[in-house]
Symmetry: C2
Subunit: 401 residues, 2 copies
């Protein structure tokens, strides 16, 4: 009844996905607004919403009090019990969250680890977290799937982690481990790529169809692209590795690492060194930079020089990306946001000076908006992806009759 290869039933599937997607991206919407946004008929929206309610994917609430004439329209909202599990294994901790549709964080836990976690441990920790949530914080939750944001190269075809240098994972079938341990479908993605998706859907890049996202982390510089409103994976899913690029360095005195790549030159470690810290989280580093800049004399000059140097090189890398992709937005996260925030206009001007004028006119440069939730939301998005693409297939995996 539900699986028909014909393109007819495809209309229905697409419309279901469209309604669910709108509720997911825009938040709770009245049926009236859904008719306006989709262009579908009122009766069609009613039928689609009813179907999604039957599947347990959304719920219909009493109308919001609107101070306008006319019959109020029921509000279609993501079902609060439906969540995805987001997992981000890092060198010092594994962060997990239960994320509802619309990017709502329902629960979160951070598990500090001694030494490096293995893929098997991540699977176990994920299963434990789900058990904990099931029995305590979220007794009614229905878990749609697991999404993992991994700091490394992830092969899109099968979710294999080809290489995660800091975790020291190599060809790790973490997806299979997690699916085995939890009994849920799992999706694996590169952390920066998933961050780009999160910023695109819920952050600084909302509604922008062509953007470049660059994130500066302790491990280096990763990124993600959105083209035609869709995340770019490339053939195998490795796209977005800006950190491994070799941008032009106009003044050779700016070069620190001979034969090095972007993330050797524009690096968090070098910023930490310049302010005399050994390690710090992002707010601490930003504060330390502010303090150092305020200090007169040699200390202030040293950090100013280093910030300027890194900005010059980053600007060339960004200009290259702007020339090739002509995006309307560049989003900077992590320490790159700190770098940009110190002298936003200087960075914009440096990019504009090195990019084609026409492309430079189009592009805006902003810092990321989502903060620490970014990876959780991005990972959840990966977990929800199949459901959002085809709610009917996901709700009725194989209806016999």
């Amino acid at each position: 009844m539900s699986d028909r290869n014909g393109s007819f039933d495809g209309v229905h599937r697409r419309n279901l996905a469209r309604v669910l997607g709108l509720v997911h991206l825009e938040g709770p919407l009245s049926r009236a607004r859904l008719t306006a946004l989709t262009g579908l008929n009122r009766s069609t929206i009613a039928a689609l919403a009813g179907e999604l309610v039957d599947f347990g994917l959304v719920e219909e609430r009493a109308p919001d009090p609107t101070n306008r004439v006319g019959r109020p329209s029921p509000v279609v909202a993501p079902h609060p019990a439906l969540v995805a599990v987001a997992v981000n294994p890092e060198v010092d901790a594994v962060t997990l969250a239960a994320v509802g549709l619309g990017g709502r964080i329902a629960a979160r836990r951070r598990i500090d680890v001694d030494g490096l976690v293995s893929p098997e441990e991540v699977a176990r920790l994920t299963a434990d977290a789900i058990d904990g949530w099931r029995s305590r914080e979220l007794p009614d939750a229905r878990f749609a799937g697991v999404g993992l944001a991994v700091p490394g190269l992830v092969r899109a075809a099968d979710g294999l982690v080809r290489f995660a240098p800091h975790l020291e994972w190599r060809d790790a079938p973490v997806r299979a481990f997690v699916e085995e341990a939890t009994g849920l479908p799992a999706a694996v993605g590169n952390d920066a790529s998933l961050g780009a998706i999160a910023e695109h859907l819920f952050g600084a890049g909302r509604g922008v169809d062509d953007l470049v996202y660059l994130n500066g982390g302790a491990s280096g510089i990763g990124g993600g692209l959105i083209v035609h409103g869709r995340p770019v994976g490339g053939t195998s899913g490795y796209a977005g590795e800006f950190g491994q690029n070799r941008p032009g360095i106009a003044a050779s005195v700016d070069r620190r690492a001979e034969g090095g790549v972007l993330e050797d030159e524009v690096s968090r470690t070098r910023l930490l060194e310049a302010v005399g810290l050994r390690s710090a989280d992002e707010p601490t580093l930003a504060a330390a930079i502010r303090d150092a800049l305020a200090a007169d004399g040699e200390r202030g000059a040293a950090i100013t020089d280093e910030l300027d140097r890194q900005r010059r090189i980053l600007a060339t890398a960004l200009a290259n990306a702007v020339n090739v992709l002509n995006p309307s937005l560049v989003i900077l996260g992590g320490f790159l946001a700190t770098l940009a925030d110190q002298e936003p206009e200087a960075l914009r001007a440096a990019v504009a000076a090195q990019a084609m004028p026409a492309a430079a006119e189009d592009v805006d440069l902003v810092v990321a908006a989502l903060g620490e939730d970014r990876l959780m939301i991005g990972a959840a998005e990966a977990a929800f992806a199949s459901l959002l693409a085809d709610p009917l297939a996901a709700a009725h995996p194989a209806t016999v009759d």
Copy 2:
């Protein structure tokens, strides 16, 4: 009757477009093959094909003699009378062609010009060419539209040529001029972007969904991207300007232009200088390079050095693109193909050495396949685009009843 916003009629439109697109891309196909390729029902294919015949977009021929049992299936082929006009204004000449569906060149003419052509002259030459074809070579032709491949920045929104440095056009409304002069709908695109589309659909990139195309011309280095099987324009359509990038130059002795961009370093002019020519077409340059390499002594060493130098810099630029986009194919055209053909393995190795290993594994590096027809086919594709996207709307622009 024909315009209904409902998603129902959308199925029909999509199916029509799918069938026409298949015949366009794959060449003449039997109805039986169309059913297999689309997954649609035989009766549906029959109806769709009949409709396209009625619109004059395709024709049905007697079945090809197939040495197989069973009733033979009529062949659906692009209608031979349906052509688009491709126009490529350049500094020395304006090249025009009448191109049928499937990339067939029905007629071609090259008009040498003294001095630079203006947009108005291009419009007039186009109208003249159409008149000539109508009255002589192609009396039965139906012209679907005009596509212009312009060596410059073209704003996608309205086809305005923002800046074409070698033609000395600035904010030239050439699309409007051509539409006025010919009475046909016109589309304008950047030459390299259209070349990328042509290579993707009919050349070295057939069936490849993620590719990077770089073309080396007299005016510099342009390019185009295909992502998710679709050409990437960016916000305004300026995407693909690799020539304006600043790639890393590992050895500072390799730098020729201080503060220069890729096309200042990797340049046709420098190759011509190295072989002692003032100007030459591509085969002549390639032959001159071969001769020079064969020569012993200083002359051979000089050209070897210059080729190696340009290849080193090009390799860095390609590696940057490979890191960011993880394409499965890089296509080189123009003098970049000549550069690659001299030492293909050296270039591949240099790219692989500078790109991420995982992304380098995925990518293949080839030279363009279409030669001088590339821009004509790409421009025709732009002219056919609206027809291919929605044959129904294009065939019945505004059916009153």
